[in-house]
């Protein structure tokens, strides 16, 4: 446990030393909320959105963006680099096992995601009057489950990519379609129904749906929860089978 805490602290320090990762993981989602919230039209309730404002929709989307940045862009590249450079191999010769570093990297990613999501919710609430999620525990669980689903996909990338650069490229390649279904460019809620249904089967589409529903007062759809759980199980197991320390 002491080793795990030390490793997590070390991973956190290293993460904060990467200006790009730290910016996109922590600052960018909240900056996005500030920019969109500064557009007057986005602060006007719209009957097309069931009386919600565009900025209300974008708070859960920004949280989904945090998940994508950390789970697809940051973690797979770091872990694949650790394998490529023999960092994991060296750990395999010490009482700290490579699995501990893997766990520390995941714990650190979740920690950063929670802080970053809290920032988005706080800025949304106190700057733009977006209410806190109506069903907060359901929102928090959807967020964590979504993070787990995307990290499982990220781990499979890390397990199968031959190098850190390849993992980075694969993560970026997946980032755009997955964030599309989460509504980064067009909020999921105003997409055609058929696109929404397809999105329900993507990890970030399901996560955004569950978070949006919890934020606006209903229970997350069972299908969204089931899809995220499915990603955790299937991709998690595949990654565990394929992952090599060297």
């Amino acid at each position: 446990m002491r080793i795990f805490v030390k490793l997590t602290g070390s991973e956190l320090r290293l993460f904060l030393r990467e200006p790009m990762a730290a910016f996109f993981g922590i600052a960018f989602p909240v900056v996005l909320v500030v920019i969109l919230g500064s557009i007057p039209a986005f602060r006007v309730p719209s009957p097309d959105l069931g009386g919600l404002r565009v900025i209300d929709l974008y708070v859960p989307i920004a949280v989904a963006l945090i998940i994508a940045m950390l789970g697809l862009q940051a973690a797979p590249a770091v872990l694949a680099t650790y394998r490529e450079k023999g960092v994991l191999r060296r750990l395999a010769t010490t009482p700290a096992r490579p699995a501990a570093l893997l766990g520390a990297q995941l714990a650190m990613s979740v920690l950063i995601a929670v802080v970053s999501a809290a920032l988005v919710l706080l800025v949304g609430r106190y700057v733009f009057g977006v209410p806190f999620p109506a069903r907060f525990p359901a929102f928090a669980l959807s967020f964590l489950l979504g993070m787990a689903a995307v990290l499982a996909v990220g781990l499979l990338i890390a397990a199968s990519a031959p190098s850190g650069k390849a993992a980075n490229a694969a993560g970026t390649f997946l980032f755009f379609p997955l964030m599309f279904f989460a509504g980064l460019w067009t909020p999921r809620e105003v997409m055609p129904a058929v696109i929404q249904r397809i999105g329900d089967f993507t990890p970030l589409g399901a996560a955004e749906r569950a978070m949006h529903e919890a934020a606006t007062g209903s229970w997350p759809a069972l299908i969204a929860v089931a899809v995220m759980t499915g990603y955790v199980v299937v991709f998690g197991l595949a990654a565990a089978r394929l992952f090599r320390w060297e």
Partner: protein, 300 residues
Amino acid sequence: MAIIKVSNLTKRYRDTVAVDGVSFAVDRGEIFGILGPNGAGKTTTVEAVAGLRQPDSGTIEVLGRTPGDPELLRQVGVQLQESELPEKMTVREALELYSAFYPEPLDWRRLAAELGLEDRHHARYATLSGGQKQRLSIALALIGDPSIAILDELTTGLDPQARRDTWDLIESIRDRGVTVLLVTHFMAEAERLCDRIAVIDHGRVVALDTPAGLVARVATEQRIRLRPSAELDDALLTALPEVREVRRHGSTVEVIGADNLLHAVSSVLAAHQIIAADLRLEQASLDDAFVGLTGRGAEN
């Protein structure tokens, strides 16, 4: 007393046999070398001893335990080839982090000072020179105060001065009571450091002896070259039992023989009041022994 026992170790990768029935035993407190050409199976052998690879057959015992035993992870320090650290981790952070892995670590500041890293505490890994990275890697292998250190090709890529400094360091590690298992393909390194050497070629141990024993095994021949100050009759030399042949190259005399050749020749010269100018004794080196044992040079 043997603290590492390897018997009949075999390891295949798909259809190539990397290690083919290797056996050796390392005694407590010695520097044991594993010497061989590139691709001979040296690294696979020590990786199996370190518990990183599962042997296909054969047994390995380290401190009476099987590799992979958690106790061995604490007692065996390993420095591997091509194991880096995160680029932005500092020397101090790496040493402190690795200290936390062990129940009774050495004082990292002292270790860093012993390894000449005392003014690099806050340097990031990426900014270290090759020698400094290698020394940090050795420090991480030693931070847990191990009873055995496994060091794989630790001076590869170092400049000659850094290489010599590293050799001094290995000797000081042994003087602290640590048993060292050293993989190398540098003759000079093996000759200087090792108490005993296992020469591995094509996955097999082709010889296991002290450096001097290995040399004696392949070549007993010695050559002396000299320029005598006065006329020297070949018969004076060929009469000696140590001398096998005498050759002349202009004013230089070449004497070929064995045993205590130098003493025998210089006694004859002294008896006839002849002074030998430009005297040179050529003996077989570990290099020659290696070529004799494997049929090729270690560095190809």
